[in-house]
């Protein structure tokens, strides 16, 4: 069976280009979201623990192009005009009430793992800790003590006295942005459409209910998924931007509360918007691209920080901003340390992987940016913070995964994809593993502790676009994660530390290229003379006193397919008509989103939800 090709559709005068370059056949002028509840076997996911049912199928309205814009799509297929960066729908999910602990699933991290991270300590979950219950948009980090609970984890920039006065204290009333969104006459914002009964709906909102923030095209929507059915589809607030398309956004889990949600958004134009949902006020950061002109691919609040957030720009820079600070034109500060002053010379391909344009320890902290790091000139496509608030995993278009100790501003590991770009990254809830998805159709599992690739997971039929752990089905030996891709599939995987085996072919064969491993001690002995290409070991020259080994940069080789374990999915299903762009796990549901505006909420199997109900 195959699908007949569509009739010739060239030229189409009014086509709205989808985030992934697809087309919406009929440009819907209709502006309201549509909620449906399709049922049937094709809307069920059968996994070991039971069946997930499609609860809600929300179709977000794609806004028509801004009147000032020309026709978005150039009908000429060979037009060489570069297209603006786009992203499919991404969601930020927020539950305002402090979440109940999930301790049953978690035990203390076994010390026997010999973690050279060793820094996080999962003790009793401290119930009063707000930040340990936060929800990040990818659902990966809800249960782990962040800086506020673990005295051992330093806070980013705490050594810098220039930064401390601005650091907020807990208990103090949260600061709100200045400009009122509704009354603003900024040209940046085209329209703001609050719900008629916004106040009432907010009052009715159950603190346990799910708020969803979503970007679609030039619109940004705030929805309450816990409200009753007909109203559920109607956004509490919709913001239409003029030129900017929001590509990424995040909610600050540290500051969220029953009357306060800090949202930070990054736009295709490089602009950043800090938006407080309840007061409907906002502030623009990097206005007029004063700090960086490049589009923002990912933006996240620094764990445990009220004010600081990190944005990855598509020109390969990571910039820490402070929502309270003003912007100022940014000059890279020359850094005296040899490691960072390194300037690439053509003889070696040694473009230093972490170039500090401005250190967090810089004394000049009057204005944004707080810190700025250049990691390459290739697009950064995603990054994630480790639950222990020390590390940062950054993936970019050149197929590199970087593990950065952002507290020390040091690059720790540099991995390379099997081939093609990495598109997404996430940390496991316990911080031991990192997942990446990429253009090699693979989900890869990397061990932070052992500093190597653990497994490659084939199963997608196209590029992977998002990965996320399901923290409600993870314990300290078993991990559940999900991935979605351009193939419109949702794949679920169960990964057990003990069950991974190398491919059987590996034991029989001992080819030179196949015997690659990247454990730190072995890599240390490796020299340039090694036959294996790319087997270089270099170290940053400013080794810190403690844990020199740990912080030494290792550039890892690509492991051969024949020696790397593979993991099959436990479930694979086409769940949408369009390439998917986002997946997230919540306590009661799994949420997926596609590039064309479909957000689907899959209810977990009823009998097993008990584990999380407490």
């Amino acid at each position: 069976m195959f699908v007949l090709p569509p009739p010739p559709r060239y030229p189409i005068s009014q086509t709205t280009s989808s985030p992934n370059g697809g087309t919406v056949q009929n440009p819907v002028v209709e502006m309201s979201n549509v909620l449906t509840h399709p049922s049937g076997p094709e809307y069920q996911l059968s996994v070991g623990e039971g069946t997930y049912f499609l609860q809600d199928n929300l179709h977000f309205a794609t806004p028509p192009p801004h009147p000032q814009d020309g026709p978005i799509t150039n009908p000429n297929p060979l037009a060489t005009t570069p297209a603006p960066p786009k992203a499919g729908i991404k969601l930020s999910i927020c539950i305002t009430s402090p979440r109940k602990s999930l301790t049953p699933l978690y035990r203390q991290a076994a010390p026997s793992t010999g973690s050279n991270l060793g820094t996080y300590s999962i003790k009793e979950h401290e119930k009063e800790s707000r930040s340990s219950h936060d929800t990040s948009s990818d659902g990966a980090t809800p249960h782990f003590p962040s800086s506020s609970t673990s005295g051992r984890t330093p806070i980013f920039g705490e050594d810098n006295s220039a930064l401390t006065p601005l650091a907020g204290k807990e208990g103090v009333k949260r600061k709100k942005p200045k400009t009122n969104l509704v009354k603003s006459n900024s040209q940046f914002i085209s329209r703001v459409i609050p719900h008629d009964q916004l106040g009432k709906r907010l009052q009715d909102h159950n603190a346990e209910g799910i708020f969803v923030f979503a970007n679609i095209d030039r619109a940004y929507q705030w929805l309450d998924l816990s409200s009753p059915a007909p109203a559920r589809a109607q956004p509490l607030m919709k913001i239409l931007f003029a030129k900017a398309h929001m590509l990424c956004h995040d909610i600050n889990p540290f500051t969220k509360g029953p009357a306060h949600i800090d949202v930070i958004m990054g736009a295709s134009t490089g602009d950043i918007v800090w938006f407080e949902a309840y007061s409907q006020k906002y502030v623009r950061i990097n206005k007029n691209n004063i700090i960086s002109p490049s589009a923002i691919s990912e933006i996240r609040w620094l764990p445990g920080s009220e004010n600081l957030f990190l944005a990855s720009h598509m020109d390969g820079t990571l910039i820490v901003y402070d929502k309270e600070r003003d912007d100022a034109a940014f000059v890279p500060e020359t850094n005296p340390t040899p490691a960072t002053a390194h300037i690439p010379n053509g003889t070696d391909s040694d473009f230093h992987p972490l170039h500090i344009n401005k250190s967090v320890n810089s004394k000049n902290q009057k204005s944004n940016p707080v810190a700025s790091w250049k990691i390459s000139n290739h697009r950064i496509l995603a990054f994630a913070f480790s639950p222990d608030s020390r590390h940062l995993a950054v993936v970019s278009e050149d197929g590199s995964l970087r593990i950065i100790n952002y507290l020390k501003e040091q690059l720790r590991d540099l991995y390379t994809s099997y081939y093609g770009a990495f598109t997404c990254v996430t940390f496991s809830p316990d911080g031991k593993y990192v997942l990446t998805g990429g253009q090699d159709d693979l989900v890869s599992i990397w061990s932070i502790v052992e500093r190597r690739i653990v497994a490659r997971c084939p199963g997608h039929h196209s590029w992977v676009t998002a990965v996320a752990f399901d923290p409600w089905r993870c314990d300290n030996r078993n991990y559940r994660f999900g991935s979605v891709g351009e193939d419109r599939r949702l794949l679920l995987w169960d990964f057990n530390v003990g069950m991974l085996r190398r491919p059987k072919a590996a034991s029989m064969r001992n080819r030179d290229r196949a015997s690659i491993c990247s454990y730190a001690p072995i890599s240390r002995n490796r020299t340039e003379s090694t036959q294996v290409p790319g087997g270089r070991l270099r170290s940053t020259s400013n080794l810190s006193n403690e844990g020199a080994d740990e912080d030494e940069l290792i550039e890892h080789e690509v492991e051969s397919r024949t020696v790397t374990a593979t993991l099959p999915p436990v479930m694979s299903k086409v769940i949408d008509e369009h390439p998917l762009s986002w997946v997230g796990f919540e306590e009661e549901c799994v949420v997926t989103a596609c590039g064309e505006g479909h957000v689907r909420v899959w209810r977990r199997p009823v009998d097993v939800v008990g584990a999380g109900e407490g």
Binding site: G346, D487, G534
Partner: protein
């Protein structure tokens, strides 16, 4: 039968026999404004596609033509490239030829086979006669009538001239600078047009064949002094059509099929030639054996030559050939039988929303042989149910992947084009290798894409996007060449409006180190550009005009040097052009006076002084800045100013630094890559002739360098919708008869050597 009108072949989509029978038929995008401007004989197409008569006319041009040509050779600085022009509907041929030409090892082998005597170079034969120009019709690119200014003027005033002379009615009303017609005209005006009507078969010592004419084209491309130009592969097409019935019509042909045919032909020609040589040698040896007293020298010669020549006949195989193993497991007796097959390219079935990786996986998936398709088991004897799977045993150096976009549909009784979204990464490894495959993790990089534009298999247009070693990615659309961004390559997944889909993908072997090196170089270049761009722009203003300033990705790498002049009428285009990035590779640009006039804004002129100044100032102001920074907050404003000042200066400084680094990097990589050097030297040698061979590299290199200059230029155009409909109709009318015809094509063209298609009911492809 009637030929379907061509969809996108703009400027030169003339049917083959136009100069013989058809009345003068001009196309909307014509070159010559008035008939009296140039004497044209019997409706020869604007840029000398064919006949000898036209050649004479050209040669009788006043001498001024020659001088302008030379000027233009200086001026035409952008692509050291020639374009294969369309000859009839030959975009299938052009796109494939471009891909092959930029398959560096393939090109080198073509050039180097058969082995030359030391006296010969590419440009001269052993007799000292020039190989390149003997009969080539070379149009002066800058004949007065062809200057862009003339082209501009001519359009509005020329309705009664060529445009109405039988051309299609869809002439552009207003001059649209983004219109392909226009671009193509400019392209033709810019460089010489070489008409490949001659052959050097005698020089090669081979009978005329596709290989020899291919070699002719490659050599002409390589050897021509001009950077820009158009090549009409007339001879090549002549041979092709003479020997292959299916390519004889002016119909739309399948690019993949052509690739397959060409590769097989080249193999055959080369093998035939070496066999012939062997036979000759054999005879010679026999003759010598007969003579009693042969000198040691003769003996050595006799033994050496035959080895040398046939020794490298297998190069097509070496490059393109891989081996597939098909394992068939009889379900009755569990016996596994293996069979190896060679392939020159892989044809993979497509799934909706899949990737090339997935398509390749699927290619190697197990397949049940049952029912009517049972397997004859030798052991059990008789037809049995079996499982079959095909895996790659030997990986080719160049992996040509054919995406089966054309699928036979039973209910419509004809081929349909599939518009599935199939994504392809820049790099690839193969998952479907056998366990004993050599180097199963071989890394491939994408270097060429052939794109089919059109709604169906029976009409449409082919273009190619090719990664060149020195110019980045180039878009080849018949006689138009345009530099494109790297991200442009991934515009043809098949889901965009405009019906353009990647059809053949060329991946070549590479290593991770090479990839990293390249990425670093890209980074540097991008950084240089980005910084340069920033330094030219007032801070805070950005390139907000289009709303999307995106660092690297949006920096266009180059634009033709002539276009700025033309586009000055276009207000915003020239505005945009004022933003000029310094090229990543700086080298004094040799500028003829002509060029100066052509380039009103010369970006580099002011730079050196500023830089010198900035160096001094920088040191001074560095101090100042630090001093000021220590001051209290009262002086914040002052600091701010100072900082901004510094900012600009530093950026300039950075530009210079990065530029220097880039230069160093390029220099170094050149030095390190021995083969590369060898190649360059070779190319130059071939350009300059053997005698100046040792001097040549310098000149050649500097020419390479001088040509990279960057402008930003928005390229937006919309095509007139009117052009569209008739074609769509034509599709309906013509498609079914042709469908039958193509379906009944002689088998021998289908599976000559490889083009391995997975067995199945749905296999017939154009």
């Amino acid at each position: 039968m009637t030929y379907p009108p061509l969809r996108f072949s703009f400027a030169v989509s003339l049917t083959e026999n136009i100069h013989e029978t058809q009345p003068l038929r001009r196309l909307p995008g014509l070159l010559y404004p008035d008939p009296d401007d140039l004497p044209l004989t019997h409706g020869c197409s604007p840029f000398a596609l064919t006949s000898a008569g036209a050649a004479e006319d050209r040669s009788s041009l006043p001498p001024q033509g020659v001088t302008t040509r030379e000027k233009s050779a200086n001026m035409a600085s952008f692509f050291n490239r020639m374009r294969s022009s369309a000859f009839g509907n030959t975009c299938y041929c052009n796109s494939i030829l471009q891909c092959l030409y930029y398959s560096v090892p393939f090109r080198e082998q073509v050039i180097n086979y058969p082995k030359r005597t030391p006296l010969e170079s590419v440009t001269t034969t052993s007799t000292g006669q020039s190989r390149i120009d003997p009969n080539a019709i070379i149009l002066p690119p800058n004949h007065p009538s062809l200057t862009p200014a003339r082209l501009m003027k001519q359009q509005p005033q020329g309705p009664n001239s060529a445009r109405t002379a039988g051309g299609p009615p869809a002439a552009p009303k207003t001059e649209d600078k983004e219109h392909p017609d226009y671009k193509k005209r400019v392209a033709q005006a810019r460089g010489p047009t070489i008409s490949m009507t001659y052959d050097n078969t005698a020089a090669y010592g081979m009978p005329e064949s596709l290989f020899t004419s291919l070699k002719d084209i490659f050599e002409a491309l390589l050897a021509h002094k001009s950077n820009v130009g158009v090549v009409s592969p007339n001879k090549f097409l002549e041979v092709l059509k003479r020997e292959n019935e299916m390519f004889r019509s002016a119909m739309h042909q399948d690019a993949h099929e052509f690739l397959n045919l060409l590769l097989n032909e080249v193999v055959a020609n080369v093998e035939a030639h070496s066999k012939k040589l062997e036979v000759e040698e054999e005879e010679k040896r026999k003759g010598m054996n007969g003579s009693a007293d042969k000198t040691g020298f003769e003996q050595a010669l006799a033994s050496a030559t035959p080895k040398a020549v046939p020794g490298n006949t297998g190069w097509v195989h070496e490059l393109f050939e891989g081996t597939l193993t098909s394992e068939t497991k009889c379900l009755t007796c569990e016996n596994v039988s293996q069979r190896d097959e060679a392939f020159l390219d892989l044809s993979v079935d497509l799934d909706e929303h899949s990737s090339v990786t997935a398509c390749l996986r699927k290619f190697s998936e197990e397949e049940m042989l049952c029912e009517r398709n049972k397997f004859h088991c030798d052991r059990c004897g008789g037809l049995q149910e079996a499982e079959k799977r095909m895996k790659i045993k030997r990986l080719p150096k160049i992996l040509a992947l054919h995406l089966k976009r054309f699928k036979y549909t039973e209910d419509l009784q004809r081929l349909q084009k599939l518009f599935h979204r199939v994504v392809y990464p820049y790099h690839l490894r193969l998952f479907n290798t056998t366990d004993d495959a050599e180097d199963p993790d071989r890394l491939y990089e994408l270097y060429a894409v052939v794109v089919h534009i059109g709604g169906g298999p029976y009409h449409g247009h082919y273009i190619s996007i090719v990664k060149t070693q020195d110019r980045g990615w180039l878009l080849f659309d018949d006689e138009m060449v345009e530099p494109v961004d790297k991200s442009y390559v991934q515009n043809f997944f098949g889901d965009r409006p405009g019906l353009a889909c990647a059809y053949v993908l060329f991946y070549q072997e590479t290593t991770l180190e090479a990839v990293k090196k390249e990425q670093d170089a890209e980074s540097l270049a991008a950084a240089a550009k980005a910084i340069g761009e920033m330094s030219k722009e007032p801070v805070g203003l950005g390139l907000k005009t289009n709303g999307f300033m995106n660092g690297i990705q949006h920096v266009k790498s180059a634009v033709s040097p002539t276009t700025p002049t033309i586009e000055e009428t276009n207000g915003y285009a020239s505005l945009d052009k004022a933003v000029t990035e310094p090229s990543p590779i700086v080298e004094p640009i040799p500028q003829s006076p002509n060029e100066v006039t052509a380039l009103p804004q010369i970006p580099t002129s002011g730079m050196p002084n500023e830089e010198v100044k900035s160096k001094k100032e920088r040191a001074k102001e560095e101090k100042e800045r630090k001093a000021i920074a220590r001051l209290s907050a009262r002086q914040e404003e002052k600091t701010e100013k100072e900082r901004r000042k510094n900012l600009e200066i530093k950026r300039k400084e950075m530009v210079r630094k990065v530029v220097e680094d880039t230069k160093a990097a390029i220099e170094a990589s050149k030095a390190s890559k021995v083969e590369e050097d060898h190649r360059v030297a070779f190319e130059n040698g071939t350009k300059e002739g053997p005698k100046e061979g040792h001097v040549a590299p310098l000149g050649g290199l500097s020419r390479f360098k001088s040509t990279s200059k960057s402008f930003r230029k928005p390229r937006i155009f919309s095509r007139e919708p009117g052009k569209e409909e008739p074609i769509a109709d034509a599709d309906e009318d013509v498609a079914s008869p042709t469908g039958h015809e193509t379906a009944e094509k002689p088998e021998k063209y289908k599976h000559r050597f490889s083009g391995l298609r997975k067995k199945g009911s749905n296999m017939k492809l154009l």
